[in-house]
């Protein structure tokens, strides 16, 4: 009897240890972004390709560099104090002569090849078709906001009669 109780307690402890210490390591942790960036505010003033400058020309859309930001942000232009606080970070980066340390999301698997140019420029697909309501968001997501699965890609490819050949995306 005493042994059974001991075993039960041991299993409970082990379970608690796994749940608290090991499991979280396998679940995605939110990534801290260097600043609160509002897609909504920027989308009202500019377009997607205004900041993601390579979206129409290359495979990767690109994240804005400090230079891209400074093209529009000349000193402090925000009206609200909380926005000015974020804008000040740009001034600091400029003074320190370093790039904005955006926390990138995990890239696609190395055997998956996706081209923004192919989809956005050649096939003229709206950004929102895949990126949903990102243009409405007020802060940067800490985790990848969408899960792009092959099934999801194929559903659209079949509907639009695009290539469903494996080598079109996997090489």
């Amino acid at each position: 009897m005493g042994r059974a109780v001991f075993l039960l307690i041991a299993v409970a402890f082990l379970g608690a240890f796994l749940y608290l210490n090991v499991l979280p390591r396998f679940s995605p942790q939110p990534r801290a972004q260097p600043m609160r960036f509002s897609h909504k505010a920027h989308f009202e003033e500019s377009t997607c390709e205004g900041c993601h400058v390579y979206v129409m020309e290359h495979g990767a859309a690109g994240t804005p560099t400090l230079e891209n930001c400074l093209d529009c942000h000349d000193g402090l232009q925000s009206e609200k104090a909380e926005d000015q606080k974020e804008e000040e970070k740009l001034v600091v980066y400029e003074e320190e002569e370093r790039e904005i340390p955006w926390a990138p999301f995990p890239r696609l698997a190395s055997h998956v090849f996706f081209s923004h140019r192919r989809h956005a420029a050649v096939s003229e697909i709206e950004c929102a078709t895949c990126h949903e309501d990102i243009a409405e968001s007020l802060t940067l997501p800490g985790n990848p906001p969408y899960e792009f699965t092959m099934k999801w890609c194929l559903a659209c490819h079949e509907e639009q009669e695009a290539s469903t050949d494996c080598v079109a995306c996997h090489r």
Binding site: F113, R118, V122, S163, D165, C166, V167, H170, R171
Partner: protein
């Protein structure tokens, strides 16, 4: 749907190996060494095989560029247990999907042309060359089979370019790396089903033959033997 194929003119081939080098660079194929070659561990999607004839002073060497024949009835596809290798309906290319490959090597045994290669090791390149790897082709991991893909990443690019210019893909838009570099223009590549294409015309030449034709694999790589040129068609 196009059915891509290749014609290699053995009368034009000088055995310069430019195609073999271009293929390695284009497709991130790792280097080999004499030791590895002796063990049969070399990966070479395109290789120029020499055949020696006669004795000095009448000796001569014939060359035969050998690559995946992209068979219409591919034995490697029939035998693959995971469908990692398959015959594309859209292009007629026999492709290899690396993350699906379990490395059983059945296909390497089934291939009568011995053009499927196994990655025995994690590929390595000299440090300055790592930055020069082709970003359009993945670096294969250890324990998967790889093979010539007719530079299938280039058909994707060619289609993208043609769609961007709102036109159809035409003969010559899609070139393989080996064809592009061949200084003797021995390699012709294109759609075998397109009556306008040069490759279709050459494949019907009286000099044309296919490797191991009696095997019934219906290869899509044609060779032109030495002989009288049909000058009108082959210029």
């Amino acid at each position: 749907m196009p059915r891509y194929g290749m014609v290699i003119d053995l009368d034009r081939c000088t055995g310069c190996q430019a195609c073999a080098v271009a293929c390695k660079v284009e497709n991130n194929v790792p280097f080999s060494s004499p030791e590895l070659a002796l063990e049969g561990r070399t990966i070479a999607w395109m290789q120029v095989l020499p055949f020696y004839e006669g004795e000095f002073p009448e000796a001569r060497t014939r060359f035969m560029p050998a690559l995946c024949n992209h068979c219409e009835i591919p034995p490697c596809v029939t035998i693959c247990p995971t469908s990692a290798t398959y015959l594309s309906e859209e292009t007629g290319i026999v492709a290899q999907i690396y993350p699906r490959c379990i490395g059983c090597r059945y296909c390497a045994v089934a291939c009568p042309y011995t053009v499927k290669f196994f990655n025995w090791f994690k590929p390595k390149w000299p440090e300055p060359m790592v930055a020069g790897l082709n970003p359009d082709v993945s670096v294969r991991p250890k324990s998967v089979i790889e093979k010539c893909t007719f530079c299938s990443h280039r058909v994707v690019k060619a289609r993208e370019r043609a769609d961007g210019e709102k036109r159809k893909l035409k003969d010559g838009d899609y070139q393989t790396a080996c064809q592009e570099v061949c200084p003797a223009k021995a390699i012709t590549f294109g759609d075998l089903d397109d009556p306008e294409s040069r490759v279709a015309a050459l494949s019907k030449s009286p000099r044309a033959f296919r490797f191991g034709e009696d095997l019934g694999t219906e290869p899509k790589v044609y060779y032109l033997r030495e002989g009288e040129w049909d000058v009108e068609r082959e210029r």
